[in-house]
């Protein structure tokens, strides 16, 4: 009896501890419950597996970019060796993040090949044409649908394609415009030769508005060796008709000549500006990308989920209703069928609930919708153990055993079935947790934790509470433990 009392104090201690934990360390809610966006970034590698070093390198570049973007409380994790998950809580638009993160941002400085001037000029003219068409197209998008205007744009586009000797494959007009612009930028890049100066030689980037018009420019600050390379490079082409191109991810974003006044020393001072007709947004995005450095491997955004804050709180309320409703109904069912025993199981279920939540805040487990459904389902499984035990106790009582003996052997004989059932479920949860996606992991974690705790609460806590009850004479009548029907006989 003494030992059981010890258990009773232990249980009360656990209950107090979990309430304390829950008050001081609130539960972490997943994005589907608090609202926000989640992006999954896939690292693309043509051959072989992504190594840990590569993963770390990509992670740190993305991390720097996210920080420079200034999104608050964002959370970046790696997943499964070649994926990253970025969470942006609240009403932050994932659009900007996706544009900034998705680019490799490989910056190159190239010098023009000899005898390509006419070619370059031609391409630059076509680029301007495309730019104009794109502007017209966006105007048409924002106003009434105008079939004539679209027709004109289509015809102009065809002319440009003929001029370039290139036919686009996109199925819609906007896609064609973007595709041809890319093609031109790549063709321009091909007219230039690589140099040893690249984005690696940068130590900082910034942006400012141009004085003459409303366009923005991006400022580059070189490291000391980068500054020397830049001076040498500009010196070599100063005063010639060779241009210097700044190339981002294989597409030329700016071509400029170097004046003859730099022929002796080159451009010194270790800084440069790119003025490629940037909008404020584009300038900021490029700044963030350059500050974070280029990605060692390209990435692709393969998944994006956004949930509004209102929907998140609705989801919490709904799950809360479902959980409470389920618990109360199960409680009523148990008390109705098992009377005193049912009451015991309700008490141990309450303890079960608290222990579960406390563990979530301790580990910590981020609570998501599938996670909550795992918890709700595990309630059913926890009750199952109690039912197995109670049925055995009743059988023992029916056989004419004393209450204390029946309780003891009831627990003992139900033991093996309970352990078996729990082990099969834990096995499934384990596999799900190892192999599953983020979404599935949440379910496996709460169900697995639930089943583990249920082993403790149903085998130990129920027993302790029951033993405690039976120390009171009034609660020791056998009739209180048997089904109603037997009672009336």
């Amino acid at each position: 009896m003494k030992r059981r009392q010890g258990w009773l104090f232990f249980i009360i201690f656990l209950l107090t501890l979990s309430v304390y934990l829950l008050i001081n360390y609130p539960l972490q809610l997943g994005l589907d419950l608090q609202g926000g966006s989640q992006l999954t970034l896939q690292i693309i590698k043509e051959e072989g597996k992504v190594t840990n070093d590569e993963l770390d390198a990509v992670y740190s570049v993305i991390d720097r970019r996210v920080n420079n973007l200034g999104v608050s409380e964002s959370n970046l994790q790696t997943l499964g060796g070649d994926q990253l998950i970025l969470e942006l809580p609240g009403e932050q638009n994932p659009l900007v993040a996706s544009r900034v993160l998705g680019k490799t941002a490989l910056l190159e400085f190239r010098t023009q090949k000899e005898g390509t001037s006419t070619n370059l000029k031609n391409l630059q003219i076509q680029r301007l044409n495309i730019k104009e068409l794109t502007e017209q197209f966006s105007i048409s998008e924002n106003s009434q649908y105008d079939a004539n205007l679209i027709k004109i744009i289509q015809d102009d586009l065809k002319e440009i394609e003929q001029e370039l000797d290139y036919s686009s494959t996109s199925s819609d007009l906007y896609g064609k415009l973007i595709e041809i612009k890319k093609y031109i930028d790549k063709e321009i890049t091909n007219l230039f030769i690589k140099t040893d100066l690249s984005g690696k030689d940068l130590i900082n980037a910034g942006r400012r508005q141009e004085q003459t018009n409303s366009n923005w420019e991006v400022l580059l600050t070189f490291s000391s060796s980068g500054g020397e390379k830049f001076a040498k490079l500009t010196k070599s082409i100063a005063g010639t008709n060779q241009l210097l191109a700044i190339i981002l991810d294989g597409e030329s974003i700016s071509e400029a000549s170097v004046g003859s006044q730099f022929a002796n020393t080159g451009i010194t001072g270790g800084s440069a500006t790119i003025s490629g007709n940037f909008s404020a947004e584009n300038a900021r995005e490029l700044e963030v990308q350059l500050k974070g450095g280029s990605l060692p491997l390209p990435i692709e955004i393969v998944e994006a989920n956004t949930i509004g804050a209102l929907l998140g709180s609705k989801n919490i309320l709904k799950s809360l209703y479902a959980a409470i409703c389920g618990l109360i109904l199960v409680g009523i069912f148990m008390i109705f069928n098992y009377r005193i025993l049912g009451f015991v199981s309700v008490l141990s279920l309450v303890l079960y609930g608290f222990l579960n939540l406390a563990l979530y805040s301790l580990i910590p487990v981020t609570l998501t919708l599938p996670g909550i459904s795992g918890l709700i389902l595990s309630i059913g499984m926890a009750v199952d153990a109690n039912i197995l035990i109670f049925e055995r106790i009743r059988e023992e009582l029916d056989d004419g055993n004393t209450l204390t003996r029946s309780i003891d052997s009831g627990f003992q004989r139900a033991n093996s079935s309970i352990v078996d059932g729990h082990i099969t479920t834990i096995l499934s949860c384990f596999v799900l947790f190892l192999l599953g996606t983020n979404f599935v992991k949440g379910f496996a974690a709460t169900l697995g934790i639930g089943v583990l705790i249920s082993l403790f609460t149903s085998l130990n806590c129920s027993k302790t509470i029951l033993r405690f009850f039976t120390t009171y004479q009034t609660l020791r009548q056998k009739s209180l433990y048997l089904p109603r029907k037997n009672f009336s006989n």
């Binding site: 009403e91 209703y321 199960v330 199952d384 039912i387 059932g421 496996a444 169900l447």
Partner: protein, 304 residues
Amino acid sequence: MKYNLELIKNKRKIISFSTVLILLSLIGILYSTFNTSYKKPINLGMDFVGGNEIRIERVCEEECSNFSPDSVIEYLREISQNKNVLNNIKLQSQNNNKLISIRTPYLSIEESTNLINNLDNIIGPLNYESKDSRLIGPKLGKRLLINCVTSLLVSLFAISLYITIRFDKKYALFALLALFHDLLIVFGIFSWLGIILSVEVNSLFAVSLLTIAGYSVNDTVVIFDRIRENLRSSKKGYNENIQLSVNESFRRTTFTSITTLIPLLSLILFGSYSLFWFSLSLSLGIIIGSYSSILLAPSFLLED
């Protein structure tokens, strides 16, 4: 309260009933593989094939009612950029046209934002606080599918291994037969749901199958435990002992199912829409699992 299920008498009926269910499931799976637009044993959802799904609420009262999904799509076609996507767009409205849900093939985040902006122009204002948008690339979808199938196979293997170690070969075999019976029927029901109501399955469906597997095995193990115990101690005949064991565990198995079904039912009624089909497939699995544990698996053990 004693139960008296006449298992021995009804063995034939039980086994033929299960055979019919399994045949129906197989027909559904075959029909779905060869005679539907998606040509898969089951209608795979966005999780597995990739795509874009947006649910959003409109800010309006009575005036909500005056729009038809077709006209909205027509407008979207006119002003939108990506024609390919718009040919495959699906738009549904619920709750007196207040809640809009859109499905399209895979879009970039930029295109998806454009789509919502266009929608806002047509039937806005929209309540962005209530937006639920999911976007899955086709590559990831394929990976998820492979992932789910491997998880299922690995854990089925683990469960089988555990049972084979835990029981004799005969018991293990029958417990597993009952398990595959349950999974096949739930799968078949969802094949049919896909054919008739175009219900799609996502990764949570795979999770539900796994949970059903654990649950069904658990139920069968409890009854087989009882059979072994009774066979050891009692002097009755073999078949009578099996029938007795089933009746003795009947209350436990049904009660357990009921207490698990109650929370699931409240999830179906009150839970978020994303959990609806998940809760439903779990509930079906638990009902079928209890049936197979109480009636089918022990019938296999009966001697003629």
